[in-house]
């Protein structure tokens, strides 16, 4: 009994998880007239933090300025910021219900933890930069724009897969 409770439950079938995700996206279209996102919320958070520390620097930087709004209210009062807070909560809830909460490092057997974490940091950095150049990440561009048949999003999506497959071989020790 105890054993059963603590062992993680299997993941859902991909098609049903995708169907659920699609319905969430559709709900967002119908209620809000916009899709999902992720990276934008972090940009807003970073812009707000920089603005707190060095207001002049943030206001003079065209990149930050775009995320700071007109100053009439906190830039953190932003749709994507609340949405991403929800993503953390939703992920946590699902993890709890499936016994998947665990402090661990996801990696293949052929790499040590330190190296894996360095790679995670570098990968995160590249993603942050790429998402800003492309005006969105896998959520805001590929998923949302994909469903809207957005020309740029489909271009973007193929390039994500293309870039990933092109370099996957060189990083195989990290994963397999």
């Amino acid at each position: 009994m105890n054993m059963k409770q603590s062992s993680p439950k299997p993941y859902w079938n991909s098609y049903w998880a995708g169907f659920g995700l699609g319905l969430v996206l559709l709900t967002s279209f119908v209620i809000m007239g916009r899709g999902l996102g992720a990276s934008g919320a972090f940009t807003t958070a970073v812009a707000t933090a920089v603005h707190e520390v060095a207001p002049a620097h943030a206001e003079n930087n065209p990149f930050y300025a775009e995320y700071l709004g007109d100053g009439s209210r906190s830039p953190l009062k932003d749709w994507l910021v609340f949405e991403v807070l929800g993503v953390f909560v939703g992920g946590f809830l699902s993890g709890v219900l499936a016994n998947r909460l665990k402090f661990a490092v996801e990696k293949g057997p052929r790499i040590n933890t330190t190296r894996r974490l360095i790679f995670a940091f570098i990968g995160g950095g590249l993603m942050g930069i790429g998402a800003k150049i492309a005006l969105g990440c896998t959520s805001g561009q590929a998923l949302t724009g994909g469903a809207l048949l957005n020309a740029g999003s489909w271009t973007f999506m193929w390039c994500v897969f293309g870039g990933a497959y092109a370099v996957a071989y060189f990083f195989r020790k990290q994963w397999i």
Binding site: G18, F88, R116, M127, A164, Y165
Partner: protein, 422 residues
Amino acid sequence: MNAPFYKFGLFGDEASFIIAFLIGIGFGFFLERAGFGSGRKLAAQFYLRDLSVLKVMFTAIVTAMTGLYVLSRTGMVDLSLVYLVPTFLVPQIVGGLLLGIGFVIGGYCPGTSCVSAATGRIDGMVYLAGMIAGLLGFAEVYPFIVNFAHSTSMGQITLPRLFNLPYGLLVFAVVLMALGAFAAGEWAEKKFGGKEPDPNGSLIGASRKLTPVRTLALGLAAVGLFAAFAGDPYRGSRATIDTRDLAIRVGKGADAIQPAQLAGWIIQGQNGFRLVDLRPEKEYAAYHIPTAQDVPLASLTPDFAAHNEKLILYSDDSMEAAKAWFLLEAQGFRSVYVVEGGLQKWRETVLFPRKSSEISDTAFERQAEVAKFFGGAPQAEGASIPANAALALPKTAPVALPTLPDVGGSNAPAKKKKKEGC
């Protein structure tokens, strides 16, 4: 039903944040259910051992796409009000490649890293820290690459419009492509991942039973097939007009914008509107008001802009613009304005203003400044009224305009819009 609800003003910003939070919970929940809190499972996509990323992503895309098509086609959703991220072709190719490389190195994309961190994965947390570092670095470099970031701009454009194909047909094509990719993916999982297809959870398994997963696939294919023949999902091609309301608005002149006012907005760098030049391409190329986009009258289809976007139209005089105004109003556009007097008046009042006893020196000085800004020249008092051809029109100024302090007088700058996209 008038959806998207938010864009029709059914609730305000405060309520939208609660909805954002709830939608986010759903988003995070399904990502975690799919196993996307694990970088190892995600990365397996790129070694063809576990194609969950492909399956989850395309099932989601197809579900939302077909659902949105049906709701729009039946008139419940105004598709033109659903925000489209504008296309910048080369930046999106470069950004996409970077993201793909980052995906393999980091193991996550921004959304899935949140779920990973929320379920305790340390690499997910480190990934997030890396992303924040990347954003901080990018902000410092951004001023130097801003021209690149804005290059190859194509505006808000869908594939059906780009390739001039029926929207529904493309919906069907995407459904078929996705189903084909699923079958290929399951085959790859078996070959490279050694995974036998789960009899209940796969499309190509040996059993011939109509499992729920196969029913889902058939259902999506059926909606796709319907879309292929059901026509355009955009509203507006068959709109009804409230002629009384139109007449009142025309009578009040509420739809007119003075050239001087427009000049002030352009100088301030306001971007809360789209300036549309209705003249043929040739005339547009010879001269147009800076920031204007050339959309000849015949190209004013219902989907050329979002229906709630602020559109400012101009042509040589008011007449042509008025026709377009009426056309767009009839198509259901909600805020269409006309530059009063068209280019004619723009030329007389903005480019080549004349000193007269009615205006004070300071006011004229300001006009002169504006005129010079747009490449025109102020005219001395008593100068003969220039004929149309007498004054050469300036070369159109580049779109990136410097800001001039305190021009436009009473026009308070519109609220700066925050980015809507991701």
